[in-house]
């Protein structure tokens, strides 16, 4: 709310408005433009509101560096969504790089868990990880939330990590606003993204740029075995973000790419998640015995 009120004294460029959201810059600019006679044109306001109200969707280029995902400890949907978002961000990053850059991203992924998170929801299992991450994982078992925060910050400062995934249970005293601000600053300074999964936690004060709340959702039936569980599906709610309007999505991780469906549309029968591999069987038209028998 603060942002929208003070934005009226900024120069009438919707683009500049769009990328001002760092609070420190706001103060410096605000001082300078107080006396100037400025008002936004309707076009600027429209562009600004469009930019700010833009709905989140997978594959956006301006990925935040610090996100939080709130979930229960009784399933792995938090870790699954964190991995899916991380892979989405990494693939976007890979597309943006020029062709001279390294062809394949071989940097390690740091996964930090505190001890209660390991007890409640288990350790990562190699064979269940995405194929390209199986030999790139470094796992840290931290005894206490303080140690986990230390490991997260050290991981963010390291230039050899592709991204950092953390899992912390509950609302420990160590993880207050100051600690989350430290993490945000370290992540943004060194350009390493952090996905922090908060198991069974209240959404208290935090400086995370995007905050999700996620739970598992019934999956779509696979094409070849309708009674089996399908590809992972999550009911995700983005309840706080700097650049996007809050919203709800049905997210699914289909063969390594993150897909978002509107929950309203998802109420209709979902499409089959297995790939359509063409006509294996010739459609029975007219001349088949079945058609004859039926006739």
């Amino acid at each position: 709310m603060v942002f929208l009120m003070t934005s009226s004294i900024l120069p009438p460029s919707a683009k500049a408005l769009h990328d001002f959201p760092v609070p420190s810059r706001l103060k410096a600019g605000g001082q300078r433009y107080v006396g100037a006679d400025l008002h936004l044109s309707s076009n600027d306001v429209a562009a600004l509101s469009k930019a700010r109200e833009g709905r989140w969707q997978p594959g956006l280029t301006d990925q935040p560096f610090h996100s939080e995902i709130f979930t229960g400890a009784a399933d792995a949907s938090g870790a699954g969504l964190a991995l899916a978002l991380a892979r989405d961000a990494l693939s976007v990053e890979g597309q943006q790089q020029d062709t001279l850059a390294e062809v394949e991203d071989r940097r390690q992924v740091l996964w930090v868990q505190d001890r209660r998170a390991i007890q409640r929801s288990g350790r990562p299992y190699t064979q269940g990880l995405p194929r390209e991450m199986r030999d790139r994982l470094i796992h840290v078992e931290a005894g206490s939330p303080e140690d986990a925060l230390f490991a997260l910050e050290e991981g963010l400062r390291c230039r050899d990590f592709a991204c950092v995934i953390g899992e912390i249970t509950g609302n420990p005293r160590a993880l207050d606003f100051t600690a989350s601000r430290r993490l945000s600053l370290a992540a943004e300074k060194h350009g390493t993204a952090l996905w922090l999964v908060r198991l069974e936690a209240e959404a208290d004060l935090s400086s995370a740029r995007m905050r999700w709340r996620v739970e598992a959702a019934p999956s779509a039936s696979p094409r070849w075995n309708a009674a089996a569980p399908g590809a992972p599906v999550w009911k995700a709610e983005l309840f706080r973000a700097r650049r996007h309007a809050p919203g709800k999505w049905i997210l699914s991780d289909d063969k390594g790419c993150l897909c978002a469906n509107d929950p309203l549309r998802a109420a209709q029968p979902a499409k089959f998640s297995s790939p359509d591999i063409g006509h294996l069987v010739r459609p029975t038209v007219g001349r088949s015995l079945a058609a004859v028998a039926r006739a």
């Binding site: 009784a74 792995a76 064979q127 390291c158 050899d160 569980p229």
Partner: protein
């Protein structure tokens, strides 16, 4: 040249006595102790056994290998002292380095001998005889009893030192067999049971053995030679095969030796004029030491893998802090930073007067563009530096990496290794190919948790179960995926597992299994467990 310190452990014990009483008035008492019959004993399962005995004890009848109780019956006033085989070995290693004054390299001959290579070095001492005299004089200065001999092969020199005449020299031109034929077969460095076999065969001297193996004058001798060859055909170890030992002694087959090489560890230290009592000063000295160490290591082209910091307090207490690094490094800032975490709980007491930093494990590290702390601030730390920091704070087993392992059981199919270690699968992959039939869970519980089945469907899997106090209604099932127990390592009562992927009414996906099937004869009704959480 072979040197045999016949009484190494007794000499060491005597010297240690002398050092303790050195300068005190009990010199006479110590010498009195030496003349008393004394044995060095080692504790065994059957009571104390004599490892070595001094001259007086030998006269009294004590022999190495005897039980102490037996020796006490022969000589009730016998004194005992504990034997120290590890100390003897360390002393022998130092002796081997010291013996390199007579030749370019030396090797240990456990438990109490040395072998020095003096090829082409004897003329520096004025010939081989004077070389041996020099050796004897130097050992006499250290008051160690020894016998030395020079021969073209290590085996011949050993035989002459142990069983030959004093100060024996075997020239390269001489016929070795003729000189050595009178020595007993024990001069071949054989095991005890082989010696027993040879004694029973009537082969007592080296000459007997060489006659049989070489010249076959008659048919019966040829038969004896063949029998001897057959007898020792399967003995591959030289110490169990007298024929190989004989060939080694005569130089017909090579005998590789492992030389002792002295390594100087990089070590820097500061002696302080004023004892330190405050942490800030200690940090200052530590950073100075780290810079010295970095210079030292850079000169040698090495990087430290393990560092030991010793702090000597005024009251004689020594505090040691040890640091292991994930990769070889010689960055002073990095070393200082890692040690800073380890210096939190140091009791300075009355002050610290000497600080010493030692790299007890160093690896070659070539010069490279330095990654200094400024660049770490700007561009982030490197992977190895980050792992070092994590390991120092969280402990060595907290930072690990999963690697696949050759097993079908889910909890055994991955192992944890250090983050920068190779995964050990270079020669043999863990499996021929991953089975992708079923999606595997993203996370695995450390221990499978038992679930209470409230209602099972006729097909056999639970329709409703309780886990951690919550009731789950199963809506979708895929399975079973049957994983048999590993019969080559598990007990015969281990039960197979039928894994099911299930999804409950809220869409939570789990990996559960039934341990065993009803009527498999390995226990009662099978139990259900929940092992993994799917994404």
């Amino acid at each position: 040249m072979a040197i045999w310190c016949a009484r190494l452990s007794v000499d060491r014990w005597r010297l240690s006595l002398g050092r303790e009483s050195d300068g005190s008035e009990s010199q006479r008492g110590a010498s009195g102790l030496e003349t008393q019959p004394t044995v060095l004993i080692a504790e065994t399962a059957h009571g104390p056994r004599i490892e070595a005995a001094n001259d007086a004890a030998r006269e009294a009848g004590a022999r190495p290998g005897m039980m102490l109780a037996d020796a006490r019956t022969l000589c009730p006033q016998i004194q005992t002292a504990p034997a120290d085989p590890a100390g003897d070995l360390a002393f022998l290693e130092k002796l081997a380095v010291w013996a390199q004054r007579w030749g370019p390299w030396s090797a240990l001959d456990r438990p109490d001998g040395l072998l020095v290579d003096v090829t082409g070095a004897a003329h520096l001492f004025g010939g081989e005889t004077r070389l041996l005299t020099d050796v004897e004089a130097n050992f006499a200065k250290r008051s160690l009893a020894m016998r030395a001999a020079i021969a073209p092969t290590a085996g011949a020199a050993w035989a002459l030192a142990h069983y030959g005449p004093a100060k024996a020299i075997l020239g390269t031109q001489e016929d070795a067999m003729r000189r050595l034929s009178d020595l007993p077969v024990a001069a071949l460095r054989l095991d005890g049971d082989v010696l027993t076999v040879l004694r029973r065969l009537g082969l007592k001297k080296l000459g007997d053995l060489s006659d049989i193996t070489q010249g076959a004058a008659s048919r019966s001798e040829a038969a004896a030679r063949d029998a001897l060859h057959r007898r020792f055909r399967n003995r591959k170890s030289p110490s169990a095969n007298p024929l190989i030992r004989l060939d080694q002694l005569l130089g017909r087959v090579p005998e590789p030796l492992l030389p002792v090489v002295q390594q100087r560890l990089p070590l820097v230290q500061r002696r302080l004029m004023e004892p330190l009592r405050h942490r800030s000063l200690l940090d200052r000295v530590l950073s100075d030491l780290a810079e010295d160490m970095a210079r030292e290591l850079e000169g040698r082209g090495e990087g430290a893998r393990r560092l030991e910091l010793g702090l000597w307090r005024v009251d004689g207490e020594v505090i040691v802090r040890r640091l292991e690094l994930a990769a070889a490094t010689r960055e002073p800032a990095h070393i200082t930073r890692l040690f800073a975490d380890k210096l939190e709980n140091i009791e300075a007491g009355f002050g610290i007067e000497t600080i010493r930093l030692r790299a007890s494990w160093a690896e070659p590290l070539h010069s490279a563009q330095c990654d200094i702390e400024e660049s770490a601030q700007r561009r982030g730390t490197s992977l190895s530096a980050c792992i070092d920091r994590l390991t120092v704070r969280l402990g060595p087993n907290a930072v690990r990496r999963p690697v696949p392992h050759a097993s079908h059981l889910p909890e055994r199919s991955q192992r944890w290794r250090g983050p920068l270690e190779p995964d050990g699968l270079e020669h043999e992959p863990a499996s021929q190919g991953a089975l992708e039939l079923y999606a595997k869970p993203l996370k695995l519980l450390d221990e499978p948790e038992r679930i209470a089945v409230l209602y099972a469907s006729p097909d056999g899997y639970p329709q409703r179960f309780r886990w951690r106090g919550n009731v789950h209604e199963v809506t979708r099932v895929e399975g079973p995926e049957r994983i048999a127990p590993e019969w080559w390592r598990a007990k015969s009562t281990a039960r197979l597992r039928d894994y099911y992927r299930i999804e409950d009414a809220q869409g939570r996906r789990y990996w559960i299994y039934r341990c065993g099937i009803a009527g498999d004869g390995r226990g009662g009704t099978p139990d259900w467990f929940l092992q993994g959480l799917l994404a």
